[in-house]
């Protein structure tokens, strides 16, 4: 009989071990997928219990905070649609976007249990509120940028070229993150894409603003010099096709510097042909066209076709910034910043530091170099070319008394619609404090539409009254 009792014991042991195996599966291997199921309201209940940290601008204005309501904690955005391109939104129902998404773990303070100490704290129910995030954004400049765009579709990026600190990140149309829960359907289905951050994720044909990159490639490779004379008549024939100047203008003979200032396409087409696709594409890649730009917010990748995918005509058009090239406003702002900062692009960032609720710093940004697309000499040369654009070329509308502004306009042709208006620049030229990229979608000519807006931004950034 004893043998049979022992056998019975073995059966029970097997059954209970099966229980532990099943429990391990549920709590360890399948836990995340089960928690993510839409029927599960636990994540939502947990969220409502957490006091998320604040998002604060560099000038100490609260952009996102948490308020207590009868139903638990609720997120509030005092600057509404002005700061929406940066803060994004946080909704119990519809998820999160912007910094609310990328810095979710810090804001919620809900990092996974990493130590015995954490576990004890958790057992005791002492959960700290989330961390506060301080940004590099200057809310005054941000407001200026959003107002400058007004009802126009477009984007503005302003940053400090010496550190990579982003000062303003504007995108229109925008939305009020406070209304995400109540107006989700209209916001998410809006045909103009109000929730798309054009400054980081909008891809546009760069047009002539891309000539900064073409110039960098040509000067770096000694294909041209500032004084080299080109034929700048209205049309240039390239392998059975042609490249034309904007509105068919003919400039006669121009030096390279003059061609840059007047944005003569035919000259750049010749330079592109001479330079070749490979070198042009390589230079674009070192300006950040190769990958998504690493950033504190989600970015899209700027695009340029591989050299092998382009014939000579397309290379010539690419040198002018037309064709299958697509750039995000952030990429173009960094191109301006590269020239401003002696050929070096600093890693762009928007989060300056992260502090726990008791002031303890958990993260602090340290400026670092991201790309060095050109030498200091080349950067100096392009800087002088860009100064000329503003002082006597297409970018005169960006001129400021007493401040030397450097820039490049762009009028990107996009088929039947009005062209995109671009301005990429920085100021003051001798000691750059701010680099800026402005794009107005289908806004018209860069020099007359985007340049005045850039002027406003530069004025505000340099702390001058309009």
């Amino acid at each position: 009989m004893n043998k049979r009792i022992a056998r019975l014991g073995a059966v029970f042991t097997a059954l209970f071990l099966l229980l532990t195996v099943n429990l391990t599966y549920m709590q360890f291997f399948a836990a995340d997928s089960l928690t993510a199921r839409p029927e599960n309201i636990r994540p939502l209940l947990n969220d409502k219990r957490i006091k998320r940290g604040d998002i604060i601008s560099a000038d100490e204005v609260v952009l996102a905070t948490t308020k207590k309501s009868a139903d638990g904690y609720k997120r509030s955005y005092p600057k509404a649609e002005i700061a929406a391109p940066i803060t994004g939104f946080y909704s119990h129902k519809y998820g999160r976007a912007g910094l609310e998404l990328t810095f979710d773990e810090y804001l919620s303070g809900q990092t996974k249990v990493s130590s015995i100490d954490d576990y004890i704290k958790r057992l005791l129910g002492r959960e700290a509120p989330g961390n506060n995030i301080t940004l590099t954004i200057n809310i005054e400049l941000q407001r200026t940028a959003m107002r400058a765009l007004g009802s126009k579709k477009g984007a503005i990026v302003a940053l400090n070229p010496k550190t990579g600190a982003v000062l303003a990140l504007a995108s229109r149309p925008s939305y009020d993150p406070n209304e995400v829960d109540s107006h989700w359907a209209e916001l998410s289905k809006n045909p103009d894409g109000v929730m798309l951050n054009r400054a980081l994720q909008g891809r546009f044909t760069p047009g002539s603003s891309f000539k900064i990159i073409t110039a960098a490639a040509a000067l770096q490779d000694n294909v041209t010099t500032v004084d080299k004379i080109y034929d700048a008549s209205s049309t240039v024939k390239i392998y059975g096709g042609k490249v034309t100047n904007y509105e068919g203008k003919s400039y006669g003979k121009l030096s390279f510097a003059e061609a840059f200032a007047k944005s003569a396409n035919t000259v750049f087409a010749q330079i592109g042909k001479e330079l070749g696709g490979a070198k042009l594409v390589d230079m674009a890649k070192s300006f950040g066209f190769a990958d998504k730009i690493p950033f504190d917010l989600p970015t899209a990748q700027s695009r340029i076709p591989a050299a092998s995918q382009m014939d000579d005509l397309e290379v010539a058009w690419a040198a002018v910034g037309q064709g299958r090239i697509q750039a995000t406003p952030l990429t173009m702002a960094l191109a301006g910043a590269a020239v401003a900062n002696n050929g070096t692009i600093m890693q762009p960032y928007v989060v300056e530091n992260i502090r726990e609720h008791d002031g303890n710093t958990v993260y602090e940004h340290r400026p670092s170099t991201w790309q060095t697309p050109m030498s200091q000499t080349t950067a100096e040369t392009i800087k002088s070319l860009m100064e000329k654009v503003v002082s006597e070329g297409t970018g005169k509308a960006a001129r400021i008394d007493g401040v030397q502004v450097a820039g490049k306009t762009g009028t990107a042709e996009v088929g039947q619609k009005k062209p995109h208006a671009w301005f990429v620049g920085f100021a003051p030229a001798d000691n750059p404090q701010v680099a800026v990229a402005v794009i107005i979608e289908n806004g018209g000519v860069g020099g007359s539409v985007a340049a005045p807006i850039a002027r406003e931004i530069i004025l505000s950034a340099l702390g001058k009254q309009r």
Partner: protein, 375 residues
């Protein structure tokens, strides 16, 4: 109060098993803690029940110190057990779809809990007496040994009884428990796997027939197979249990920091889900292992018992305990179809607590006799 019980234990039954009482104290203490956290207004009642349980255990210990007298009344136990088991059909009240409760003044009472113990007594006594007969008198048919037809009587009776519980009281858990208990004891007593095979076959046949005949059983099984088909209706309880367990993770959310109250009946049948959520895989596994240890101590007592009756009583008690805890642990973790039974010592519920403390006392009584049996 555990101290008092322990002292009494030491005085009354020397040489008793030293592990069982601490296990019971640990489990019922944890249960009380969880009930306090889940349904604070029930905590006082539960602590009263635990107190009552220890007193009942004390009385039982005094009464069954020389447990051999139990076997003299085996038919009394059987009749009493059947009466208790079936009384709710006639005079009981229905709760949560099952008819299991009797109302006695201010208390409601689940007679099936007590019937489990009585059946252990009966079966132990009956099998001790008849085991020779049951294991020897077999005849050959179709090249396999079959017991004589008249000895199959008890098997058939038990089978029918299980089905009656299943059908009339709508209680799958108890039905399974009684039949499983019977088969396990029959096997241990006679050593004929034939009984187990035949019994299992009968049970599967009966259960299958019930699956097709009764919609509530069909629903249970369907929910087990795919709870997601009706997540807010029929599958709600088990899905909430799964979510609770999943959110516990390795270390749990911490006591009071989970959301176990989302699960209906969390303080009774689903208390393990709350433990798994708030104490995690570590806590949950610890609980499962404590149950396994309790069972292994029970079987150890059975092995060390010096007489067959004691051996069978201890085996039966271990079976009741094992089957009951496995049924509900497996049910809440979706390992097997869910049947509503309580988790011994931890779940809220007076009848369950009382029954388990008496079970504990019986184990102690049997374990104590191992040295004195020769006297």
């Amino acid at each position: 109060m555990f101290l008092a019980l322990n002292i009494a234990n030491r005085l009354l039954v020397k040489e008793a098993d030293p592990y069982l009482l601490p296990f019971a104290a640990l489990l019922s203490g944890l249960g009380l803690l969880m009930i306090w956290r889940l349904k604070p207004n029930l905590a006082t009642a539960q602590s009263m029940w635990i107190l009552a349980g220890t007193i009942a255990a004390l009385i039982a210990l005094v009464a069954v110190r020389r447990y051999q007298w139990l076997k003299e009344y085996k038919y009394t136990w059987a009749i009493l057990g059947i009466l208790l088991l079936f009384s709710p059909i006639f005079i009981g009240v229905e709760r949560g779809g099952s008819k299991l409760w009797l109302v006695l003044g201010p208390f409601t009472f689940q007679p099936a809990e007590m019937a489990k113990l009585l059946f252990v007594f009966f079966l132990a006594a009956y099998l001790e007496e008849k085991r020779e007969l049951l294991s020897i008198s077999t005849r050959r048919a179709f090249k396999i040994w079959l017991p004589e037809l008249k000895h199959l009587g008890p098997l058939i009776v038990m089978w029918l009884m299980s089905l009656v519980i299943l059908v009339l009281e709508r209680d799958m858990g108890t039905s399974l428990l009684f039949f499983g208990l019977f088969l396990a004891m029959l096997y241990v007593a006679t050593g004929r796997p034939m009984y187990v095979t035949l019994g299992s076959f009968l049970f599967v046949a009966g259960a299958t027939a019930c699956y097709f005949a009764f919609s509530h059983i069909q629903t249970r099984v369907d929910i087990w197979l795919d709870p997601w088909m009706d997540p807010s209706g029929k599958g709600y309880q088990i899905i909430q249990s799964i979510f609770a367990i999943a959110s516990g993770g390795l270390a749990g959310t911490g006591l009071g920091l989970g959301h176990p109250t989302l699960i209906p009946a969390v303080q009774t049948d689903f208390i393990f889900s709350a433990i798994a959520e708030e104490l995690g895989l570590l806590g949950g596994t610890a609980i499962i292992l404590i149950y396994l240890l309790f069972i292994s101590r029970g079987l150890h007592i059975a092995l060390s018992a010096t007489d067959n009756f004691g051996r069978l009583v201890a085996t039966g008690l271990a079976c009741v305990f094992a089957l009951q805890s496995f049924t509900i642990l497996g049910g809440t973790t979706k390992l097997i179809p869910l049947t509503g039974v309580t988790l011994p010592f931890i779940s809220y519920g007076g009848s369950s607590i009382l029954m388990n403390f008496i079970l504990l006392a019986l184990f102690l009584a049997v374990s104590a006799k191992r040295d004195g049996a020769g006297e």
